[in-house]
């Protein structure tokens, strides 16, 4: 199908875009990669009457590396993040998640910000943001800048804490300093590149003796938002990540999920996948962090 008619503006500056958002409210949508928005418009699930093209705004492309976080401009292309060797070192979970995102054609256009504001509960980058508790930087003409942690950003399927006048400008990703940091992202989908039936992600830091110093874990596709489990991750601290411990953590996390049923999988199967995938993610990350201890 074709999108419903709309007025198109090429934003000349961030202020120009924010002015249009302030004036038109919910009828106005920013468009960057458009890999979620354009299909939604083609299916008439979205009918904005005004589109603001923000692709040319350098302010939304800025990259900043600090010791404890990396700031990525909201319209940073997924494909550029994939190829970014420094980013693979500082925030490795992004590249791990991107292995499962769409296809070359969609990643060439798709942006980090677009995926986060679209907030599909099965999408990979929102899960990565939830697991690392990234900070989303929002800006509006009247409200100025507002910083929202991922734990508060994702509210419900396709629904975030951003209000209609706000534009996501940047995402701050925590960098874990020190040795022994490792992460993993696991997923099952009908076809590679499709939305996940269930997904799991973790990042851990192990001490030289193999005990866990720092951990974060989460599940995607099994609730209305991506889920992170800081209290369960806390219980891994000071212990070796054995198969038994990974299984326990995965079972407790999956028990808190609320998966839905659709034509691809029922709730019970999704919960089963959640256990298997989170256990697998934890064990893979643990073995990558300590190759010598893997056996």
């Amino acid at each position: 199908m074709k999108a419903a008619p709309f007025t198109f503006h090429r934003a000349e500056s961030l202020d120009h875009a924010l002015d249009l958002l302030a004036r038109h409210g919910g009828d106005c949508k920013p468009i960057a990669g458009g890999q979620s928005l354009v299909p939604m418009m083609a299916m008439r699930l979205a009918r904005p009457s005004v589109l603001v093209d923000i692709n040319r705004l350098d302010a939304l492309k800025a990259r900043h590396d600090a010791p404890d976080h990396v700031t990525l401009g909201a319209i940073t292309r997924q494909r550029d993040m994939e190829a970014d060797v420094a980013l693979r070192r500082s925030v490795p979970l992004i590249a791990e998640a991107l292995r499962w995102v769409g296809h070359v054609q969609t990643r060439n256009r798709g942006t980090i910000g677009g995926s986060l504001v679209h907030a599909d509960p099965s999408a990979e980058l929102p899960l990565a943001a939830a697991v690392l508790d990234a900070t989303l930087v929002l800006r509006s003409q009247n409200g100025g800048e507002r910083r929202v942690p991922a734990s508060e950003f994702f509210v419900a399927p396709m629904f975030t804490a951003a209000n209609e006048a706000e534009c996501l400008t940047a995402v701050e990703w925590p960098v874990w300093a020190g040795a022994g940091v490792s992460c993993a992202f696991e997923e099952v989908a009908i076809r590679h590149g499709d939305f996940a039936m269930a997904s799991a992600a973790c990042q851990i830091q192990l001490d030289p003796d193999g005990t866990c110093r720092r951990a974060t874990i989460g599940l995607g596709g099994v609730a209305g938002t991506p889920l992170a489990f800081p209290d369960l991750a806390q219980r891994l601290i000071g212990r070796r990540i054995t198969a038994t411990l990974a299984q326990e953590a995965a079972e407790e996390a999956a028990a808190r999920s609320e998966p839905g049923t659709d034509m691809h999988a029922d709730a019970g199967y999704r919960r089963h996948l959640a256990v298997v995938l989170l256990r697998r993610a934890l064990l893979r990350a643990a073995s990558a962090a300590t190759p010598a201890l893997a056996a």
Partner: protein, 162 residues
């Protein structure tokens, strides 16, 4: 209300200027305004890959961006892959030799995806080939002959399936 937008887009090396309705997708612009019907319209929501074109050299889905967004950029369609009129690119020829198409609907998108792959990676493994065409659906070939064609075009296979 939905005033036409002026665009200047370089398509297969030729600068094309037009006024487009904002909701005109790039693939509709190519087909309906420029009569370049080599690029196919399949699902119109970013699943099938039939509409793939190269945008500033990188493969994208032409159904998932509006022509108005492409102003000032360069597009290569399947019509732009051959070195000259009446000739085929090496990859196109390998598709022919390997029976990599039957109905032909997915072929323009497959050729765009595989042209990009070979430009980035002249000797791709089978896994890399399958990854590169992961965003393109084919309902005829079962994909094997397409993989064969890319191997043939990259000099990795002597004889094609016959």
């Amino acid at each position: 209300m939905t005033a036409p937008i002026s665009v200047e887009i370089t398509v297969n090396g030729t600068v094309r200027r037009a006024f487009v309705e904002p909701r005109t997708t790039l693939v509709d612009f190519l087909r309906d305004h420029l009569a370049l019907t080599g690029t196919h319209v399949g699902c119109e929501h970013g699943i099938c890959g039939a509409c793939s074109v190269l945008l500033d050299g990188a493969p994208v889905r032409a159904c998932c961006l509006f022509a108005a967004q492409v102003d000032g950029m360069s597009v290569t369609t399947v019509e732009g892959l051959a070195p000259a009129r009446g000739e085929l690119s090496k990859l196109q020829d390998a598709f022919l030799e390997s029976h990599a198409l039957q109905c032909g609907y997915c072929t323009p998108g497959m050729l765009i995806a595989c042209t990009d792959l070979l430009a980035r990676n002249p000797q791709p493994s089978e896994e890399e080939i399958r990854d590169a065409i992961g965003g393109n659906l084919c309902r005829c070939t079962g994909y094997q002959q397409i993989v064969d064609a890319v191997k043939l075009a990259s000099g990795q296979e002597e004889a094609a399936h016959g």
